[in-house]
Symmetry: C2
Subunit: 406 residues, 2 copies
């Protein structure tokens, strides 16, 4: 059995790094705060005798040798980076639970057949550099390393520089190595498990998504002198696109997702009709075909909305992630573990993107979800109970052990 208290204490310890006054966490990828989180994780791993390697995109792999070191390892993990005002558990749970699995194996003096590695993927959130699942995306070959290094944040700092700055541009190549399986424990970040009072979500796959960068260009003009007929108000045009995103989502009913989460106005002065607005757009749906339909029609519709308001739109598709089913045999290990342990469980499709989605392209993969309060995530009030974390960790332990010893 895993140690529920030790798991919780380590979660709380990690949550101190980047803690916000409102009880959340701000541990943006590749910042000093992220470095501090990685450091604490490294110390914990090394105290267990694990070997920590870092690859060229900053992904961290902490290895526990198996009886047969030539066997491909079983991987487990998640990410330690957070949203700008994120919660304590999104990502951290999967990494710290992986550590707790290692600690439990250590306590029980178990040597598994295959080696086991706990992974901290770089920049899962995507809020700083605009590409979610970035570290796992480079590892799995979705993004070239050069492309990733060149991605910039709003202050113009590139991923490559940021990696150097915190000392996490590691010596190991960032590309898929042979692994036997990957298991990721994560909070659901949605309302389904809580609503149905299930302890465990057996994640069968993740939904499709498409992300864009949008720039609307109008003309800076004086708010007091510029008549309605000559305005080219980029913020008004952006408002129409925001409504279009919302309508596009609602046409798909409760399964649709469409969000403008990031927006910047220029020059952003009260008495200036805005001449430029930059913003993000993303859509998601469990059915890949729906995302394809949206990706086919949204650009022209958004362009027309901008033009109707005297502005122009430049829309760049950043990436598209197809719906990703997980591996049947790995999913079965999760299902079996939950059943054996007597946890209530249901199958679920992930609404969020996860590193597991990209890893699954190369490695048999499954995920375990646990409930979170009010289904709330990407929010400083994100909250879970210690016993919920422990249940997820116990399922992770059993699934990993079963796989590593098969």
């Amino acid at each position: 059995r895993i140690d529920a208290k030790r798991l919780w204490d380590s979660l709380m310890s990690m949550a101190e790094i980047g803690a916000t006054p409102k009880g959340g966490v701000r541990r943006l990828t590749l910042t000093e705060v992220d470095r501090a989180g990685r450091q604490r994780f490294t110390e914990w791993c090394e105290a267990l005798g694990l070997q920590v390697r870092v690859d060229a995109i900053g992904n961290m792999f902490a290895r526990r040798e198996g009886r047969d070191p030539s066997r491909p390892p079983v991987l487990m993990g998640s990410h330690l980076d957070s949203q700008p005002s994120g919660g304590k558990f999104d990502g951290a749970l999967g990494v710290i639970a992986g550590l707790e699995v290692m600690r439990t194996l250590h306590d029980l003096n178990i040597t598994t057949e295959a080696p086991i590695e706990v992974v901290n993927w770089t920049d899962e959130e995507g809020s700083r550099f605009g590409h979610s699942l970035m570290g796992s995306g480079v590892w799995s070959g979705v993004y070239s390393q050069d492309k990733a290094y060149a991605l910039k944040d709003v202050d113009g700092v590139a991923v490559g520089e940021a990696l150097e700055a915190i000392g996490y541009r590691g010596p190991h190549p960032a590309r898929p190595f042979k692994a036997d399986a990957y298991f990721e424990l994560h909070i659901e970040q949605g309302p389904i498990l809580e609503r149905e009072a299930k302890q465990i979500g057996i994640v069968t796959g993740a939904q499709a998504q498409v992300w864009y960068d949008a720039v609307i260009t109008g003309q800076d003009a004086h708010a007091g002198t510029t008549p309605p007929s000559t305005r080219k108000d980029a913020l008004l045009a952006a408002a129409r696109v925001i409504e279009l995103v919302d309508a596009t989502m609602r046409q798909r009913g409760e399964d649709g997702r469409g969000t403008v989460g990031f927006l910047q106005v220029h020059p952003n002065s009260r008495n200036v009709v805005p001449g430029e607005v930059r913003f993000s757009v993303e859509f998601r749906h469990p059915l890949e075909a729906e995302v394809e339909v949206i990706a086919g029609s949204f650009p022209a519709a958004a362009e027309a909305a901008a033009r109707a308001n005297g502005c122009s739109l430049q829309l760049t598709e950043l990436f598209r992630i197809p719906a990703q089913p997980f591996d049947q045999s790995c999913v079965a290990l999760v299902r079996d573990a939950a059943a054996r342990l007597g946890y209530s469980a249901r199958e679920i499709v992930s609404g969020a993107g996860h590193d597991a989605v990209y890893v699954a392209r190369h490695v048999p993969t499954a995920m375990i979800f646990t409930p979170c309060k009010d289904g709330l995530s990407h929010n400083e009030e994100e909250s879970i109970l210690p016993e919920e974390a422990a249940a997820g960790c116990q399922v992770l332990f059993e699934a990993v052990l079963a796989r590593a010893n098969r």
Copy 2:
């Protein structure tokens, strides 16, 4: 006759301070750049033997003695602060033209009956601290000094601190002293003079306006997991309010003005449904009654729009400026000067707010407008011709001289 070349050269010299790559100016009030502009202005004034005083809100008055020092001075001036991406002439023209009037009086060895003072008002633009005409507003008693000192910019820096930091919290009280008249030369910042090919605008008054701060509160939530029915998207709600502002403007036809120029999203992350949006709203109209009608109905309509999207709105009225007619006798001096000099001219109501609007509450006031290219202002491409500046300056010279010698 004023020296057109010297006027232009000084305008270009001032425009170097805070020059932007796109040919505009960024000389935000009470910044280091503003300090540098004030410094250059002071040096120019002192080179002419003018006495420069600074009041407690940083307004600068450079005095040229008259034959009768006991007579109240004739004031002229404008402001040296700019928009974040503003033009070279908005404000600077009126201050530098005032300096050129002084220089011309000096060259011609003219001693006027009344003293003359050229004024640089603090923070006319209002883009940093949210209150346009701030320095003249404190001077004229519209804002208490304490209220003004406590106003903060988006980084939390207060006006009082910023004044101290640049050394412009002056010893003189910021309150109206007895003055005989105030003349302000400014570019029109709108399209009317250019369209009608007039060299001079005889400004008869300024339109009414009302400014608000708005905060919409929803709930941060995960963009991938949060279904349409449970979203409280503060940016979507803000988009509806932006459209309401636009519709409210357009209901008034070409005379209406309604603008959201400033907007900030929190947490501003691509995959987070935004939980909070802060923005500005302002409306203007030449007829004060129209602004009153808007101020009566907009708050409830905006509140309803926010609520219909599951969010709440907190709307704070920052200030309301009534329509301000200028002084008949001063306006007549401008009209007469333009006619005597043979300039084509027309009467015009100012679409922008100007320090003259608040000064007019205590001092007989008039303004002179000159055209600007494409009516464009609050834009780095703001542009005027040297002969347009010279014509305005010459009218200012004649009006001030006539008033000071009457």
